[in-house]
Symmetry: C2
Subunit: 268 residues, 2 copies
Amino acid sequence: MILKIKTWSIAFVLVFTIAIVFLGQKITISANNSYPSIENIPMPQVEQPLRILTPANEIFNIASCKVNDLGFTIAQADIPPGAGPIPHVHYYIDEWFWTPKAGLELFHSTRQYPTIKEVPNIAGAGRADMYSIISQANQIIYSPNFYVHGFVNPTTETLPITFVWLKNDLAPVFPHDDGGMRDFFTEVGVKITDLNNLPSLNDKNKNAVVTEAPRYGMNQSSYFMEYVNSIDNQFPEELAKMQNDEDLKRVIEAVEAFNSGDKSVSCS
Amino acid sequence: MILKIKTWSIAFVLVFTIAIVFLGQKITISANNSYPSIENIPMPQVEQPLRILTPANEIFNIASCKVNDLGFTIAQADIPPGAGPIPHVHYYIDEWFWTPKAGLELFHSTRQYPTIKEVPNIAGAGRADMYSIISQANQIIYSPNFYVHGFVNPTTETLPITFVWLKNDLAPVFPHDDGGMRDFFTEVGVKITDLNNLPSLNDKNKNAVVTEAPRYGMNQSSYFMEYVNSIDNQFPEELAKMQNDEDLKRVIEAVEAFNSGDKSVSCS
């Protein structure tokens, strides 16, 4: 009898262990699973696109649009090896990342920091446990406000990314009514006049990203680990399933309308 | 009978689960456990201490000693908030970190990268899974060559750290016969003449740390995540138990001998 129970128990433990391993795999997404993707995010065809080199060494092509209550800025960007913004939090905008090519590494918290005065550092609200994901070709990642996030290009070739910054209900009115991102980058970055001859960044630009961020509804860390407690490279389902296709569709339709000559949409 | 087995199985699963949790705690060290510590690492009392501001914004007070086959450099350092070297690997030296005050955050891999040509990045040998630890007062952490490591000051006050760099058998002869660290920092840093008026660092200094590192037996990443795949904030036993008290004792005895006037030890 005792032997029988022992055998049963061993079998049970085995099944239990296998179940744990299986469950552990089910709650993460891997490179082989499906992911939200999109074929294209169109760029508003404005007369004079604004080109900016950001202090995170990103090469931006920026345009902003407005139609009714919808205000947003789109930035098509080239990210050289090692470039990309270190972790930060947005308050006035919700953001999408679209990666036409695979290879950029995005970082995201599951914890939200809902007030701008609660900075996610050791001296403030505490640092975030982060999750990383290497983006797939055409993948779209949605990042609403309040989360710590950032990305880097860990490869040896320049990679493209397109950002959509959509102003939300917390945003005060900024000149482009986009939640402030365009004016932020205009202030802290350097205007590019010749793509073959990029301007140089100085410490003033790099410091400004951190010091000016709150004025534009952001908390920006000044070194990589300032807002980071740990980094797990298994992106959890909780983050993978965050999507907002409805608003993204409204943005894309507005751009397409503008590009087709619809005068109700203004872009610049 | 079936019910009885079910009860037994549930009990077994409970015990099993508790055992896993207990085991999980046993293989990590926490702030409440004991840790290797030392009361003091003496500084060689040389006539003209070398003071250097490093590109990682560390304020170094450096002295190097030589006695028989023992060659080492000690640096007493002040680490301002956010400062500290991002991940790198040493080949010619073994290193100790001594933190008189608590609060610095150290990062360390368990994987070794035994040849300098195998760079721990995505394009090379692959990035490292890192483990972090917030240092305790007087804690001593030993880091032999080949491991990816680095540290940062995540607090809002300047914190002290003392480094011991002991040349190992792989080291070629450098002017101070210390495995090259003193000459490396002399080349890439900026000499401090007035501690109240620190020099400024430029991009040339910051680039030199990366480009000149291999000449001094190091691989140095150029951005935080270049050598990092993940960061777990549970420091594993495997790393916690790495110690080399014998060599550290030889170093300290050599410094004490020099400071007592023993002419067989030369320090400068």
